[in-house]
Amino acid sequence: MFTDYFKFSFKNLRHRGLRTWLTLLGIFIGVTVVIALIGLGNGLKLTVEAQFGVSSLEVITIQAGGVQFGPPGSGVSNPLTEDDLGEILGVNNVEYAIRRNIETVKLEYNDHISITNSIDFPEDKDESDLFFDTNDIDTLQGRRLKDSDTNAVMLGYNYYANKVDLGESIEVGDKIEVNNESLKVVGILEKQGSFIWDNIVVIPREKSKEISGFDEEIDLIVVVLKNTELIEKTKEDLESTLRHTRNVDRGEEDFDVSTPEAALETVNQVLTGVQIFIVIIALISVVVGAIGIINTMTTSVMERRKDIGIMKAVGAKNSDIFLQFLIEAGMLGLAGGIAGILLGSALSYFGTVGIASFLGTDVMPDVNIILIFVTLVASFLIGAMSGIIPAIKAAKQNPVEVIRG
């Protein structure tokens, strides 16, 4: 009998023409907005996550505590130092501890300047090999920096693609000036899709110290583990070692030891929060659309008083009538939902592509099957729920009142 009711409602809805369309329109717009915004929100999350580029090697990153602005190492009150690095090397399960300094530099080329970030390149053979593994990068053109290099640099992809405002693209073999020091470009990095890496200047450590004026202070320490299974234990060990070295009590740490997942977590949380907020607002349209269904179904019940009476006369139970109208309401919701999913998905797809290309990332907007399925079910349910009260009214209809013409 269920399938019959679905067929019935289909017929009934078609027959009601314009008013059905108007009701559908309401839910349609609402669902479109919700789907589009959820999709865009997810696309934005993916794009932002891509900026962070979690490496395939599981490492622990250590930063000094401070205000959460800017790249690692800015906003700190008490920086990490070589002493801290030395102690970390002695901790169990630590294979390598690599220091990293990220500085702001002035890059001059072709009579243009660009203020950008630099990262130092290690001068130890093992560490320099690890540089590429831990950051998941490699060169596209030219060659990798070697631990023996002094005046050579590698540049991020955007310099080669002329996406930096320098008037001309930079190629392997070109000379550039960094903080007024002349350096030679020996390698261009592959495109990472990350704003930071695509605009980076990689400078050998000694030269970077010279140019940017740091020595013992360290912005970031990357710890490579011998056994990644013990990552949580090692994190704790590192924390207690640093507490000792830096002379701070538990709970008062002026540093931060984090596993890769943790960093991404925070970003995710913020973005998800924003997403939820916007979606709640969009849901308002859905609610208004649902009200439209209540309205339409109430009217429909009133108009079909006679038919209801007839059906009762030919043997329909109250529950039969109830189900029929409930399903009809659900179908209204479902139809609006389907249309909304189609348009909303199209909007979010193109929107995501737009955002990604703006940020220079290659993000494939994913078609979230689960979201679509949930929305379909929810549309039907919302429709049905809106229809409950009208359906009850219909079922309670006394056949006698209406049959006699």
């Binding site: 602005f69 800017g70 800015s74 906003g75 203020i115 916007i278 607002i281 969009a282 349209s285 609610v287």
Partner: protein, 401 residues
């Protein structure tokens, strides 16, 4: 037009189909309330920005080194006393001071917080002027105070920054050194700024000798020609730092310009959200059209009767138009009322949390605008059904059972 009888007739019809009227009003109401809430918050934010950019900051120019997202985070490019001298020498600059900025660690009991410390010269606190605030409680610093600090507003309330509140003359531990609290500043309105610590420039230089660069230089300039003065400052600094135009490692901006950037972003965000709220109103309008169509169908025969006894087409149109507009109007009133209550409630919560700069603001146009929007939406939604009603064939209608 619609006469008194027409109005009575319309209102009675609306009352008769109470369910339908209720749902229609509810639809429009939800949209209007949302719009009201967001616009009032938007207005609040805009006025906050206006406040900041107007008043005492209208004649201030800000000079900062490029590369840092916030002053004091980056010391790659320096601004120092030489630059300050240059700026002071520019025509149109009445006076200029530099402020050091640094990230500090503040401790209380076992709690640690990181925030900024800023230096200023108490005889000439340009940085405080630019925020249009002064020392509200306690005393301003004296040039000789090497171990006293002035705290941002939030430190005097408990559980805003630390669990315990600070009072005048309390001890405060910064970077493992002890200082005494000299006074508290007025509230700027946002948690970040209200948690800053301020110290004497001399004291700062003594305690942090490694920080040689100002976080920012603030200049009080000739308000009338502010843009011209900004250009002159840039030119002078370029010359003294030996940099070509387009290749500077600093920038100078009037406070007003800087805030414009924020209001630009704010515009977009509020606009976006209001857009979505408007979509709800559109959906509500659709519902209203639906309702009016139904009403017309229900009163099909009645309309025929009205026409038979002499009603003109235009009068039928007016009656239905009035009904849908009235529904919108009622929705508008209720929506505004609910929106107002909600924003008032939110306002008191925000203020108690220290986010007073997010408070909503109202103006007459907000109320009038929302009401008008609601009524017009109702009217427009009813146009097509009303038109159809007016065009009903009298004879057919009378025959209708």
């Amino acid at each position: 037009m619609i006469g008194k009888e027409g109005i009575k007739y319309s209102l009675r019809n609306l009352k008769k189909s109470k369910d339908r009227s209720f749902f229609t009003i509810l639809s429009i109401l939800i949209g209007i309330t949302t719009i009201f809430i967001f616009i009032s918050f938007g207005l609040g934010l805009f006025s906050y920005i206006d406040e900041l950019s107007g008043g005492a900051s209208a004649d201030k120019v800000l000079i900062m080194a490029k590369g840092s997202s916030a002053p004091g985070l980056d010391t790659t490019f320096e601004l120092n006393s030489d630059d300050l001298r240059v700026v002071n020498g520019v025509t149109g600059v009445y006076e200029a001071e530099g402020s050091y900025f640094k990230v500090i660690k503040v401790e209380q009991g076992g709690e640690v917080r990181y925030t900024f410390i800023a230096s200023y010269t108490p005889e000439n606190p340009l940085i405080l002027e630019s925020f249009d605030i002064g020392v509200e409680k306690g005393k301003n610093l004296q040039p000789s105070d090497s171990s006293k600090v002035v705290l941002g507003y939030n430190y005097q309330d408990k559980d805003k920054i630390f669990s315990k509140a600070y009072e005048i003359n309390d001890r405060i531990t910064i970077d493992d050194r002890d200082f005494r609290v000299s006074g508290f500043l007025e509230s700027i309105g946002n948690p970040q700024d209200d948690s800053q610590v301020y110290i004497n420039e001399n004291a700062f230089e003594e305690i942090y000798p490694d920080t040689t660069s100002y976080g920012m230089i603030i200049a009080r300039v000739d308000k009338e020609n502010i843009e011209l003065v900004v250009e002159r400052i840039e030119k002078a600094l370029r010359k003294s730092r030996d940099q070509e135009e387009g290749k500077e490692d600093f920038y100078a901006q009037s406070y007003a310009d800087m805030l414009e950037a924020y209001s630009g972003a704010l515009n977009m965000i509020v606009g976006f959200i209001v857009l979505i709220a408007i979509i709800s109103v559109i959906v509500a309008a659709v519902n209203t059209t639906n309702t009016m169509f139904t009403a017309v169908l229900e009163r099909y025969k009645e309309i025929g009767i009205l026409k038979a006894i002499g009603a003109k087409n235009s009068e039928i149109l007016d009656i239905f138009l009035f009904e849908s507009a009235f529904l919108g109007f009622v929705a508008g009133i209720i929506g505004i009322a609910i929106g107002y209550l909600f924003t008032q409630l939110a306002k008191s919560i925000l203020i108690s949390l220290g986010w007073s700069f997010l408070s909503p603001l109202y103006n007459v146009w907000l109320f009038v605008g929302c009401l008008l929007f609601a009524t017009v939406t109702g009217a427009i939604a009813g146009v097509v059904p009303a038109y159809r009603a007016s065009k009903i064939n009298t004879v057919d209608a009378l025959r209708y059972e």
